[in-house]
Amino acid sequence: MEFSREKRLKGRLAGDRRGDLYPHSLQFYLQPPTENISLAEFENFAIDRLKLLKVVENLGVSYVKGSDEYKSRLEREIRKLKFPYKALVEDDYDARRKDHISHFILRLAYCQSEDLRRWFIQQEMDLFRYRFNALTGDLVEKFLKYVNLSYGAISKEVKEKFAVQLRNSTPGLGGAKVEELEFYKVPLQDAMDLFRVRRVYLLNGFAYVPHTDIVAIVLNNYRTKLSKALALTARSLPAVQSDERLQPLLNHLSHSYVGPDYSIQKNVGKISLEHIDALSVKSFPLCMRQLNKALRDNHHLRHGGRMQYGLFLKGIGLTLEQALQFWKSEFIKGKVDADKFDKGYAYSIRHNYGKEGKRTDYTPFSCMKIILSNPPSQGDYHGCPFRHSDPELLKQKLQSYKIPPTGITQVLELVKGMHYQLACQKYFQLTHDVDDIGFSLNHPNQYFAESQKLLSGGREVKKEPSEPESSQQKLSSQKRTNSCSIPTSSNTEADTELEGLDAYFTED
């Protein structure tokens, strides 16, 4: 990506601006914008797109993606924020321009860490999917040509030869339809998301993709390009960050996506190790309670569990020394002796605290990361219990935790609809005996913080003596419900400038 303006710019500004710049309402964002733009517009565009992506995220959690409800709500929002919402409208240059520029601004803000990139890509993909599906057949063809994704259809003979295989590898097709449907022979790389879940037939390095699944190919292609572009952008970032007008804004934008990342611990050293078991019952989300129990039972956790639980503990305030003591005292009750612990495990704990290796101070995992990445396998206890348990086992577990039957039914209903975070939220309500928790849950450490606040009467962790930091006062001066997602940006200037943005992101 280039950050310097080019000569071509002149031609564009000269009036022919509606020309070939945006031939389609949709694009892969391959060319960065090259025009001059005011700082105010820069900021407005960025904030609007962030709002849009936030809407995409929330709708995706609350509704089935692609359902009518989802689509109509998303369309309303897109229209409200003045992004291109209907492919058909010819004269929407301004919307297309806004779409283009705002996308590139957010790239700058969201290329900085893996977590940010993951979030950004996810939301942009959902947005793109919605918009692509809204295209009419004619426009789809045009778009495919435009982005160089037209594939050759297979001949009738080939189709007949593999009729059985094609039918069996393409769910949702009646037997008769294979003959009517066009199949394309697509290189593996382009059909990644389809063969990953075995929705296509694979033979000798090619995927045989039915016409109806072409959208997955397009999305796959878009994801690859976007993810590469973000990696490149990250490399060019120092040049942008040296601009003191942009740097605070970009930082702030990236901090706004899911609230704080819980990397800055407010309660360091305020938790004592004896209290962990009691806390795990009262204030840990189910995933962490499960990990704590598995650790106590087996005196061991495999890598995935140590990461998820260890970083959570770090987030609630365990110091490095405490963490080492905590893990060691448990592990040496099992098969690991003190010497082996020091050699094999202590390193990775120090690593989590940024004391080894590349010295990254690792942040606790968010719900999305836990749900989407690294699913548990044999012998693992990590993951999201709502996502990765058999419903029957989950039910038993909830019963043993004395959750009332009606509550369990509600939780299981949400799990069935794949609303894992909402299920966890429900669990919070049931265990804390509140009707409305007043926040949307997206982080295990947020769960803990909210629980502690509630249990100690709407305030910070009780045991804290006094907090001289001015930041604490600032927190309490804001609306009480906000404190879970106030960005922890260190730049006070940007904070005051962007108060409006804060309000927006904390009201959901």
Binding site: M192, F195, R196, G205, N374, Q378, Y381, H388, D390
Partner: protein, 414 residues
């Protein structure tokens, strides 16, 4: 057979790296014909030295230099990593963001520990000839899919030296795969899902994808012998509970009533099959077979381009067994317990040497120590395994030449 004593490694390793390790074919493998510039030079090697000291990001100018370093350091374990944008040994001299893993073989790691919930003979690091069948099945299933579905040519299957197998997929195109592509492949190849909180780990729905039906037909021939007879999965009250937990509720009760009346696992399985036949469409029968036998891959090893994997012909420091290639032609005969240990190889070498010396004395030759004896492994039981490795390397050379010919033909057309 000479027993292996981990404490003897410091004495044996120098001999192993000097006279037994197949440096020649090994270097040829990782040079990949020298087609891509500095391919070997940009490859990461990692050594594990005594007392678990890891030395990462090592790279070498040539296979000969690597050989010398092995002989100097005598590593307990050698891992092979990715091919980077720059020489790994100089990674500190380039800008941090610029140093990136670019290519690596697609690798699979199948580890017997991951089957602990479905094998009764051993647990964790132990293996026996009974449960080794699981590895045989795993290789058959994965290898078929790699060849037929993914169109892959060059696979090297290797015994890890203790409790599992590794696969190195070395095709030119595959080595360039992104990590997303690698994890998609592993997901395609994965049917058993869920951790300790999941009882039913295989769930099939119609239509059955060709990958699944093809895999099933590879699992089926082993199932009776391995699971019903060997593991006796329906042998006792305790063990069949795990199995019937996977069938629909109403059949479950019926089976629990009938099972005690039957004689053995085989009869009980017959019964289960009969009952399942009557309640189509259910895939419980196949699901059970898959849950108990289907390969379990460690996605994290395959996913990361930069992930290290124990090198073929590295010695396993705990068992002393050499990590040897597996001949797919004779897969069913492969016996992990017959794989030579480093101590056995060294004593074989000694014996051969004594015989030679006797011969030498007869000829009255006074030459002290031969300078280099690269073919020494031929005198030991390592020889057949090196042969398998050489065939693999030759196969790659051949198809590379074919490819070059094809290209030059194309150019010659005009």
């Amino acid at each position: 057979m000479a027993g292996f004593e981990p404490g003897s490694l410091p004495d044996l390793l120098p001999l192993y790296y000097r006279r037994l390790f197949p440096h020649g074919p090994y270097g040829r493998w990782l040079s990949y014909g020298g087609v891509v510039k500095n391919y070997f030079q940009r490859r990461e090697f990692s050594f594990t030295l005594r007392d678990d000291i890891y030395v990462r990001y090592q790279s070498f100018n040539s296979p000969q230099e690597l050989e010398k370093e092995m002989q100097k350091m005598n590593p307990y374990k050698i891992d092979v990593g990715a091919v980077y944008s720059h020489r790994p040994s100089q990674c500190n001299t380039v800008h941090r963001g610029a140093f990136q893993a670019q290519e690596k073989e697609l690798v699979f790691d199948i580890d017997m520990t991951d089957y602990d919930d479905v094998r009764s003979c051993c647990s964790s690091a132990e293996i026996c000839s009974k449960c080794w069948t699981l590895m045989t099945i795993a290789i058959r299933v994965i290898d078929r899919a790699l060849v037929e579905d993914f169109g892959v040519k060059h696979r090297l299957w290797v015994y890890s030296g203790r409790r599992g197998v590794h696969c190195w997929v070395c095709d030119d195109a595959v080595r360039k795969w992104s990590s997303a592509m690698r994890s998609a492949t592993v997901e395609y190849l994965t049917l058993v899902k869920g951790g300790s909180e999941t009882v039913k780990k295989v769930n099939l729905t119609d239509p059955i994808h060709p990958f699944i039906s093809n895999s099933l037909s590879l699992v089926e021939p082993y199932f009776e012998e391995y699971a019903l007879v060997g593991q006796d999965i329906l042998g006792s009250n305790e063990s069949w509970e795990k199995v019937v937990a996977l069938v629909p509720e109403h059949i479950l009760r019926l089976l629990l009533r009938e099972f005690p009346k039957k004689r053995d696992s085989l009869q009980r399985w017959e019964l289960l099959k009969n009952k399942m036949d009557k309640c189509r469409p259910s895939h419980a029968e196949s699901e059970i077979m898959l849950q108990f036998c289907f390969p379990r891959l460690d996605i994290n090893v395959s996913k990361g381009v930069s992930h290290l994997l124990k090198s073929p012909f590295s010695v396993h420091p705990k068992t002393g067994r050499v990590s040897v290639p597996i001949d797919l032609q004779k897969l069913d005969q492969f016996d992990p317990f017959a794989v030579p240990t480093i101590s056995r190889l060294c004593s074989e070498l000694d014996t051969a040497h004594e015989e030679e010396e006797e011969d030498g004395e007869k000829e009255n030759e006074a030459e002290p120590v031969p300078k280099r004896r690269t073919r020494d492994y031929k005198k030991t039981s390592l020889a057949p395994y090196v042969r398998v490795f050489e065939r693999f390397v030759e196969e790659m050379d051949k198809s590379r030449k074919g490819e070059l010919l094809r290209k030059s033909d194309l150019q010659g057309d005009f």
